[in-house]
């Protein structure tokens, strides 16, 4: 057994890396705005859109990239996105209002997910495309259009339970969408309400990392589109949802070594690597490993736009040709709804170190001015080291330290992570820990006001020559640089 520190260093692209090099700037921000603090880099979202566009170009495909708004509430990110040619996928009344207010015209907005009547009304009234779950929602839309004299609503039919010839591929149960087996009945409803409803295509979203499952769903959509055409509709869009993934870690070798050692720890072959011997889903029975590692695959060589590229290059099982080719030659537009992958490298979460102490058992406890759900990496199963930013720029002259990170709630369960975190130095009170790449779901999706502790404020930053400028997230507009200068 190898006793070297088990680092899981974050993958940092130049902008985020350069921001983390500016420790004095980040300390000033936390001094003024408190801990925890979220920082977003709006320009990175535009760069990510361009990466997806490049994948589209490689397959000659047209269509829209919709940002799944739920991944982050930031106004700066949404407003910066509005300044590109991308669209936005909204899943609540508030998100729709936010998108409209940020400058998205209705033809660049897609309303998905569970909807209440107000959300549905604003979507229909403003002319946003609606992704519908089933016949009930079509009936509701039809009634809404009739009652309020609204223009016809453009809809995407969300489908589920796809099947393919050959080996049976199992998928998790979903409570969204209509089974393709009931497509005919669904189209009967569409036909009945042709005055109020314009089907522009079909959609799916599968919560899986498996390309095979997605390939079967995409092929199922191609067949469903043909069913629409047979009924005289002129559908044009296949929406394949999101789930393209993010690569969080810099080094595959660290991830492989970490997971191997975790296995060994669960089997009792090395000292525990976690608080109370937590196994992240693994357990030992008679010396054999059982269970499944329930962690996000933090090192993913193929993620984001590259994952889309790989999906489009896969051959369809029944139709034979690559999926991208089939989309193209059937003259369909491809819509995607990336969340996490579109805000990759778009932000970080900062927390102040309040206390460092050594327990009777010799463990280092590092208490942060932050709750676990302020940077909910752990909740999303993402294991990644925070970056230590010493106060005054000088780290204490200690060697590598293994620490447990605890939060500011008076609650045993408030551990920022249940794993023992290896840092190159022991943190000191006043230092900052920066959790990198938290903009996708980990920044504000789960943050609560529990115990009346503050929720992180959010700032947008921009690099101006050699220095960083900032403004409050809600003050950001893409025509002015953070700091005031008009572009």
């Amino acid at each position: 057994m190898d006793s070297a520190p088990l680092y899981l260093e974050p993958h940092l692209e130049p902008s985020l890396a350069s921001l983390l090099d500016s420790a004095a700037f980040l300390h000033t921000l936390v001094d003024a705005l408190g801990s925890p603090l979220n920082v977003v880099l709006p320009d990175e979202i535009a760069r990510n859109v361009e990466r997806f566009r490049a994948a589209y170009r490689r397959h000659n495909l047209a269509g829209q990239v919709f940002f799944a708004h739920k991944a982050n509430r930031s106004s700066a990110l949404v407003r910066r996105l509005a300044a590109t040619d991308a669209g936005i996928d909204v899943a609540s009344l508030g998100e729709l209002q936010h998108a409209l207010g940020a400058g998205f015209a209705p033809d660049r907005i897609l309303a998905t997910g569970p909807k209440n009547p107000e959300f549905r009304w604003l979507a229909a009234r403003s002319g946003v495309t609606v992704s519908v779950d089933g016949p009930e929602e079509l009936e509701e839309l039809d009634a809404l259009v009739g009652r309020h004299g609204l223009p016809p609503v453009r809809v995407l039919l969300r489908l589920a339970d796809f099947e393919a010839p050959g080996a049976k591929v199992l998928s998790r149960q979903t409570h969204f969408g209509t089974s393709v087996k009931s497509l005919d009945q669904l189209l009967d409803v569409v036909e009945r309400h042709q005055e109020a409803i314009r089907p522009i295509g079909v959609a799916y979203h599968l919560d899986t990392t498996s390309l095979d499952e997605k390939a079967i769903a995409l092929e199922g959509c191609l067949l469903a589109m043909d069913a629409l055409r047979k009924r005289g509709f002129q559908p044009r869009v296949i929406d394949i949802g999101g789930g393209f993934g993010v690569n969080y870690l810099a080094h595959a070798a660290q991830w492989e070594r970490y997971t191997t050692e975790l296995t060994n720890a669960v089997l009792g072959k090395r000292p525990s690597m976690t608080w109370s011997g937590h196994g992240y889903g693994l357990r030992a029975e008679n010396g054999t490993l059982r269970g499944t590692l329930s962690l996000y695959p933090a090192h993913r060589p193929v993620a984001g736009a590259a994952y889309l590229d790989e999906l489009l290059s896969l051959p369809a099982r029944a139709l034979g040709r690559p999926l991208g080719t089939l989309l193209l030659e059937n003259l369909y537009d491809l819509h995607i709804e990336p969340g996490r992958s579109l805000v990759d490298q778009c932000g970080l979460s900062l927390a102040r170190v309040l206390e460092v102490r050594r327990t009777d058992t010799g463990d280092h406890l590092v208490r942060l001015a932050m709750k676990a759900n302020d940077a909910s990496l752990e909740e999303h199963g993402v294991l990644m080291d925070p970056v230590l930013l010493p106060r005054g720029g000088v780290a204490a002259a200690t060697g590598p330290a293994a620490v447990h990170l605890t939060g500011n709630l008076c609650l045993e369960a408030d551990l920022i992570t249940r794993r023992t975190v290896h840092l190159p130095r022991l943190p000191q009170p006043g230092d900052l820990l920066a959790f990198a790449n938290t903009a996708g779901y980990c920044m504000d999706f789960s943050a609560t006001h529990a115990q009346q502790q503050p929720i992180a404020r959010k700032v947008a930053v921009h690099r101006d020559g050699g220095s960083w400028r900032w403004c409050l997230d809600e003050q950001y507009w893409p025509i002015t640089r953070p700091g005031g200068q008009q572009i």
Binding site: D212, G243, T292, L295, G320, L326
Partner: protein, 458 residues
């Protein structure tokens, strides 16, 4: 040899010496145990037969299905055995990553169920671990199944303790080899063989090989996965070493190209791991300090007391792994370029191809009735196409023109593809081949649609 049933042909596989000129070991005889010569093609035939046999009659009576978690050879052997006994077989897997094997299993009559991938948005409260679900399903009341359970079934190990191991000892004139090197999949073969060899000679050194995590080797567990195997006991092995997919392919190439042994990547990994393990031992044996009698290897063991023997297992055959090789070493399957290929077009030839936009194409079609060839797939063509077009899908068209022009030079031709890219390439190629009037639809069918020109569905 005459048999009443093909299952009697399981086992009794040859032990073949690898030519020292290939591996370069001067003091060690390296033998390959050719498990690939079992009737269904792999080492798993033994375990599959041993595990399934006791329950087959009963399974037939209660119309039970044989069920196994397998992505390859065990499934293959069980599918054959189940079929011979009129019983159905289902393979459940999340690891079937070699497409030919999937097709082969379907051909043999197996049913395949693939487990779902990991969730993208983690739900830590989710207890829906696919394997747990699999076991729950098996124990549901009324589920008629015979679960052979290869990763935990002692009958798997026993097949090798009763067969493979004793065969090796017999073929080495009643002696254990000094070294035994095996890849660890279910751990059945390595555990069973090691048990027998140790009984004969406790000094035998057993090396288990596992895969590196970054890529997979079919049939081998990686360094973490091996801990999930019930039959795996670290004490079986004197050491556990890792092999990469690249190394497995290197080993496989040596076996297939130089030794006449048509081994798959797993056997390649075993060969590579064996030679890597033995090379320093061989050098040690060369050194003068070892010229005297060796305490560990008494004089009666070998005529030449410094010579050692080593055995590795060749699990299965190469034929099922062509796509695995193609993905990792495409150059090994490279073919010379064909004559009439778009790949050979020059930029000048591409520039010179005649393109025609939608409006002009409509006029040309009306005036001269060119043959309209739609190069898209049949599914897309059937949905919507230019009236009167014939559909020759690009990959078919590509093969067709390798032999020459497929239509008369007096017949003008309009080629159409989705965006006008491929059709321009083929127009250039047909022009080079001597056709006087081939044109490519500029912007393809998409431009045609966007211009509002008619598309029909028959």
């Amino acid at each position: 040899m005459r048999y009443d049933s093909i299952t009697e042909a399981i086992g009794g596989t040859p032990l073949v010496r690898i030519d020292p000129a290939v591996h370069g070991l001067r003091n060690i005889d390296l033998y390959a145990k050719l498990e690939m010569l079992n009737p269904f093609g792999s080492v798993k035939d033994r375990a599959a037969w041993n595990m399934a046999r006791p329950g087959l009659a009963d399974a037939g009576e209660r119309a039970a299905t044989v069920v196994e978690l397998s992505s390859g050879n065990t499934a293959k052997a069980l599918a054959v055995i189940a079929g011979m006994h009129g019983v159905s077989f289902k393979s459940v897997t999340n690891r079937m990553r070699v497409p030919e094997i999937k097709d082969l299993l379907l051909l043999l009559g197996a049913e395949i169920e693939e487990l779902p991938g990991q969730t993208e948005c983690l739900d830590p409260t989710n207890t829906e671990d696919p394997l747990t679900l699999f076991h729950q399903k098996l124990s549901e009341p009324g589920s008629a199944s015979l679960h052979t359970d290869q990763y935990f079934n002692e009958l798997n190990t026993e097949a090798h303790a009763a067969g493979t191991g004793p065969e090796i000892v017999a073929d080495l004139d009643g002696r254990s080899p000094d070294w035994f090197i095996a890849c660890v999949g279910t751990a059945g073969s390595s555990t069973g063989v090691a048990r027998v060899l140790r009984e004969h000679d406790p000094a035998v050194r057993v090396v288990g090989l596992v895969g590196e995590k970054k890529d997979f080797i079919p049939g081998i567990r990686n360094v973490d996965e091996v801990n999930q195997v019930g039959l795996f006991d670290p004490a079986t092995y004197d050491s556990i070493e890792t092999v990469s997919a690249e190394e497995a392919l290197d080993g496989m190439l040596t076996l297939v190209r130089r030794c006449g042994i048509l081994s798959g990547p797993t056997g390649g990994a075993a060969y590579f791991g064996a030679v890597r393990q033995l090379r320093p031992v061989d050098e040690e044996l060369d050194s003068p300090a070892n010229s005297g009698p060796d305490a560990e290897h008494p004089a009666e063991r070998h005529a030449d007391r410094r010579r050692q023997t080593a055995v590795f297992i060749v699990c299965d055959r190469v034929e099922s792994y062509l796509s695995y090789v193609r993905q990792r070493r495409p150059e090994l399957l490279g073919r010379p370029p064909v004559k009439n290929s778009v790949a050979t077009l020059t930029d000048a030839e591409l520039q010179a191809a005649t393109v025609i936009d939608t409006a002009d194409a409509q006029k040309w079609i009306a005036a001269e009735r060119p043959l309209v060839v739609d190069l898209r797939g049949p599914f897309a063509y059937a949905a919507l196409h230019i009236e009167g077009a014939v559909n020759i899908v690009d990959e078919l068209f590509d093969e067709l023109i390798r032999g020459g022009l497929p239509f008369s030079k007096r017949q003008p031709v309009l080629l159409a593809c989705p965006v006008g890219e491929k059709s321009a390439q083929y127009a250039a190629l047909l022009t080079r081949m001597g056709h006087p009037d081939v044109r490519s639809l500029a912007g393809g069918i998409i431009a045609w649609r966007d211009a509002g020109a008619p598309l029909v569905r028959d």
